[in-house]
Amino acid sequence: MLEVKGLRKAFGPIVAVDGISFEAARGDVLGFLGPNGAGKTTTMRMLSCFLPPDGGTASVLGYDIMAQSVAVRRSTGYLAENVPAYDEMTTEGFLKFVCAARGINGRKRQQAIDAVAGSCAIADVMHQPIGTLSKGYRRRVGLAQALVHDPPVLILDEPTDGLDPNQKHDVRELIKDLAREKCIVISTHILEEVDAICNRMIIIDRGKIRADSTPEKLREEVNGSLDEVFRKLTVERREVHSEGAAVPGGAG
């Protein structure tokens, strides 16, 4: 359902995403892991058709993210980092706007909003302006916005960030529930989350994929916890890299 080939994006001299490729199918919950600044958010922004890539291609349900971006966006739900929304709107008004932009109107719209209000537990704040919501509610409104049109592909950038442990649990259950029908990509730096909901994980560091496997396999390979896997793949390389960089300076 999701196919990424050699995707690349640079901001000036900084290469944020450096030719990554992967695939995901229906039923996959793909965990996107990496230290801060690894390129997770940039990748997700490209998959959601917000940022145009500098090179490579990606397709969602066979639609190209550049040439058929409207079709891609129609079949994708996207929760962006920091949950952008229109702060002056009420939750209900905001969801109605999202529905209208996605062509859901009339009775269908009310049904769709009621459904996500229940599954994302935001029924209490439907009439509150989004700007006044707590971090947890705001994130769940963002999640509701991504789910309201029941998309086959979900791209969620840190869906549980800022939630309390109970809310985290609920959102993870929700994602697991949705996983049967959909293809879900989530980014996170919480390793226990990967264990809890992902059947696949990709570790990305400085724009490159360091591992693409399942949590179990990676653990076996390293013979330790996911923490160790993560550190081994992202920290050690960095040390090697910086030592390499230090050589010319030392010689000089």
Binding site: F11, S48, A80, Y86, F97, A100, A101
Partner: protein, 244 residues
Amino acid sequence: MKGFTSVFKRELQSYFSTPLAYVFLVIFLFFSSFITFQKGFFEMREASLRLFFGNMPLLFIFLVPALAMRLWAEERRTNSIELLFSLPVRLPEAVLAKFFACWAVIALALVLTCPMVITVCYLGDPDWGPIVTGYLGSLLLAGTYLAIGSFFSCLSRNQVIAFVLSVVACVVFLYAGSPSVMNYLAGFLPAGLVRVVESLSFRSRFESIQRGVIEFRDVAFFVLLASGWLWANVIALRGRIAAG
């Protein structure tokens, strides 16, 4: 199309769910009539809105960029633009929807100046031609200012920068044709170029529309110029998004 209508409706609502539209309307209505009476509306002893429409170019130069500066700057600052374009909304659709929503607020402001029309009708027997064309000219002029403001609003996340740049750009277009500028330019520019600059001026075109003379080329000038700025807006916004 549903992208356009949904964004248009949302924008229009946001003007009225925040104090923005009310502040704009009150300030506009106050100053548009205050200046008219200040300049000697009664002393003129003439049932016309000539003085009233004469204020529009200067009044709009501050008020329209103030309304336009948030169009894209705010969207980019709060990053809601990322949400907007994760919806199946095309970029030109969004640019046009925001433009027309803002233009509708300005049109409403003009409609609300109807007491001025009632006043001149009560005081005398006005010539309707210049009143109708005065409104049309004001709307076209405001739309062109707005397109300029919308363009500068997408260049920066900072609304103040957007405001200042669009005021300057509007001033340049407004005063391009004034005699002092023309005389100055004629000192070192060839006559052909001076005429080009003069033809770009808002002022002479607005004045001829306002006098009751609707010429196709004057209307086309404003429409084309506004379209050009909006087109530049689409291109610039695309570039800004790609640059991150």
